[in-house]
Amino acid sequence: MSEISNLKAGLIADINAADTLDALEALRVGAMGKNGVVTGLLKTLGPMSPEERLEKGPPIQDLRESVTAALADRKAALEQAALDAKLAAEKIDMTLPAGIGPQGSVHPVSQVMDELAEIFADLGFSVATGPEIEDDWHNFTALNIPETHPARAMHDTFYFPDAEGKKMLLRTHTSPVQIRTMMSGEPPIRIIAPGRVYRSDSDATHTPMFHQIEGLVIDKGITLGHLKWTLETFLKAFFERDDIVLRLRPSYFPFTEPSVEVDVGYTLTNGQRVIGGDGDAPGGGWLEVLGSGMVNRRVIEACGLDPDEWQGFAFGTGVDRLAMLKYGMNDLRAFFDGDLRWLKHYGFSALDVPTLSGGVGA
């Protein structure tokens, strides 16, 4: 008996001492191969009588199982060691830079226009557009600005040479879209009209091209109170602040009556004007953000609607200016320079799609 247990101890010791897979294989062949010692012992079981096998079989089977298990364990250990060694040899410098591609961006004006469209969609305003090259009827006359009206001098208009009796110009505001909308559709109307507008003006806060968004509501029983609510609601949603305070000032636009200019209160925070709070509070002030009013009856009439039946309000605001106030740029000219550094800093990710659930700002 002790012969087999000695053999077992010797084989297992040899197996555990094997330091290469080849050495282990040689041991396997020596023990379990065709002519191996364990194989030889197993062969002796065949001719034995059942009684003898009952007595001598179990130690031999135990030997076989133990050696087989030892071989498998050792093989796994050696393979693991080999893999570990291989992986250790494959170490690279993970601090090397990964190739980070360039980053695209959405222009702040586009982003803010999307924000505005989202807010006004919730208020039931659809989007309307019109040509940028307009005739003077849509840009001025229909808006109650006759030829000699001083308001025409207020707009520094870009004109094209006269052709076929029609005076063509670059629209000075998005208001002609009001006219086109009222002439082509039936009230009730709720639209916003964003787009490029042009005035012959150039300094840090004026560029010859900029962006406006126009709003128009025509319905029955619409009053200045609705205008006030709409602007308050819109500005609160846009700046995502509940402490937005508006100051409405009587003003004059030929196409609205009464006309109202809208200032929004700001507070100085670290030298920056931050929208929110009462502009009359110490350290505060007012910034003009909107022009608006009740649509002049003459404008409604010019569009072929009955002003005794339909009435409404209109407003217009600078998209670039809203972007500046919300996101803190201070030079309008940079908006149109295409400077990649500026676009990277002030631009937005493609995935910053304004949503009401996620907040329109980014």
């Binding site: 586009s110 090259i133 295409g338």
Partner: protein, 804 residues
Amino acid sequence: MKFTLSWLKTHLATDADLPTILKGLTNIGLEVEGVENPADKLAPFRIARVLTAEPHPQADKLQVLTVDAGDGPLQVVCGAPNARAGLVGVFGTEGAVVPVNGMVLKKTAIRGVESNGMMCSFRELELGEDHEGIIELNADSPVGEVYARWAGLDDPVIDVSITPNRQDCMGVRGIARDLAAAGLGTLNPIIVPTVEGVRPGPDVRVEDEDGCPAFFARTVQGVTNGQSPEWMARRLKAIGQKPISTLVDITNYLMIDLGRPLHVYDMATLKGPLTARKGKSGEEVLALNGKTYTVDETMTVIADDEAVHDIGGIMGGEHSGATDATTDVLIECAYFTPERIAVTGQKLGLTSDARGRFERGVDPAFLDDGLSIATDLVVKLCGGTPSQATRAGEPPVANKIVRYEPSQCLALAGVYVRDDEQKRILESLGFGVEGHDATFEYEDGMPVTTPAHWSVSVPSWRRDVDGWPDLVEEVVRIVGLDQVPSTPLPRAPGVARPTATAEQLVERRVRRTAAARDLAEAINWSFISEKEAASVGGGDWTLANPISEDLKVMRPSLLPGLLSATRRNMDRGAASVRLFEVGRRYFAEKERATIGFVLAGEKTPRGWQTGKAQAFSAFDAKAEVLALLAAAGAPVANLQSFGEASGAYHPGQSGTLRLGPKVVLAEFGVLHPSLAKQFGLTGTVVAGEIFLDAIPAKRKSGFMRAPYAPPALQAVKRDFAFVVDEAVEADALVRAVKGADKKAIVDARLFDVFVGPGVDEGRKSLAIEVTLQPGEKSFSQDELDAISAAVVKAAEKLGGTLRG
């Protein structure tokens, strides 16, 4: 429009303090643009008496003074030649800031002698140009008093912005009237003196009744022109008007005070009667601003027998203006037609305070009174005797009556204002209100009801008011817009519905796709230079009055703007530029929505993995174009590749993608080297434009997709290589191969192009991977052979031979 608080108070009796008045002004639509009290910066300067004056021991031109500014003697070193004992002047103590240069006065030693402040000149206090010596006040001036307060300089200057409809507020009186209506005081009655003329009025005539319907005038003979009285000069100076002479100052003062422009002629310079007539083409007039203007027959002028003396309602002539030597004057008080003034002013590029008022429309009922007030002032301040008034023409006083129902205030403005309050407001603004009760009558047997309403007569100075909404506006602005209740717009039930237009959705998708593909969005000018426009085919719209030559032609392509931006970025050291813009191109017939992009510089920078920096190729442009077209919803698989991109591109390395042969959806490629050079760009620049308006709108047919189940059997791939003539376009071969068995072949992808050994000169080898999708059962060998044969046959039609 600037005025001072004390000036306002000559018309408005009020206890309101300055902040209340400022807030009131803005609330009623007279926006305060600024307010400044000149006394603020002069607060530390007091009236002081020089007690002693001794020569400075170390300097000839300096004196050592002892000065009493109310707190006992102080030693001061002074260099003014007029400094002497007994002089009463203005003294700045230690800590005061000298207005003219911002210097802070400190206790100091001048040439070894202690000095405790400064005796000041007018210039140092920014009160004038005089710097000959220190200020000398009357000897009885109160020593120790703050000088500015004593001198009447403690008078805030208020600057308000007047909207174009409010000519009545181009005078201090109009502003006072508005404030009184708003409850901030009482409007003082205007005093119109009775002027007894001692001789007939001057011979003035109106020929151009359209341009100048009324020309009233008086003369004053025997005047002495000189310096205006202190109160008038001080007020004019405070608002930035330079006092000139009494006669001129009177006209300026009344223009600011009452919004009534006037003109004074020196009668000695006139030959014959003064006539308001149309200008004659080529006539010249040297205006008071020293410039010569050429008038034409659309303009109204005031002329005598020999010359034009006034560009009617805008600016007087230099030669006939009042001077110190003037003894006899003619005072003009006329009404010029606003529309004509506006056109004339624009044509001449001439602005003036008078134009600003006539253009808005002065009060046509105030000619007589204005002339009397002016004449009276001239007589009182300059002496002389007045003539009677000559009244040529008739001012267009409208006498408008507006029908108004007080309920219209609530209907339009959404705010309820009691009838009696509305009446009070309108009357305090000068409107007349006559009430009519509701009536009920029969007309031809039909009952006709007329609701209660008012007949509101519009004051002559409110040219802007002609309908009931104007009256609502008057009531609401005086009541205050803060009284208008915020009223929610009715909301449609349910969740807000989508509102964006199809075009807008396409623009949004391409914009965000481009940004996601690592391009940065730029917004470039819609107008470019003529040269730039010419380089991309020329523009259809050229501005008549561009702001500069660089911004003159409406762009027919987005490329010039993008290339200029690229250039600017390169100049700033950018190694790689990837820009896009979404915007319109402008053509005679329409404006076309477009997305354009430019890729320039390095596609990938040099890197430890990638080696040298890589440049962009035409296929980078193609990749962007295809991705953007797909995002825009274009049927990308059905598009055909053509050459024939515009001249902006390299003729051999560019192309177009079309839907059918005519509808071009996009063009792209390597920029033509000469165009790149024109924009100062070196290296390969690639670009593309997608014409968004040419993309057919996607038909929306609900959200349901076509039914689909992935095929059960795996697709089989087979490779083919064909040798074709070099002229054969790869796309043609791929399409031919794909069309060889439309049922089995679901895809064909070109994966290799080879020219070289083993391929004949002038030929190329194109390798294509064909994907075959079995249906219900796997392909048999026979079927596969048949498909292969069809593929080879299709290639042969293009002259392709299967490569062995």
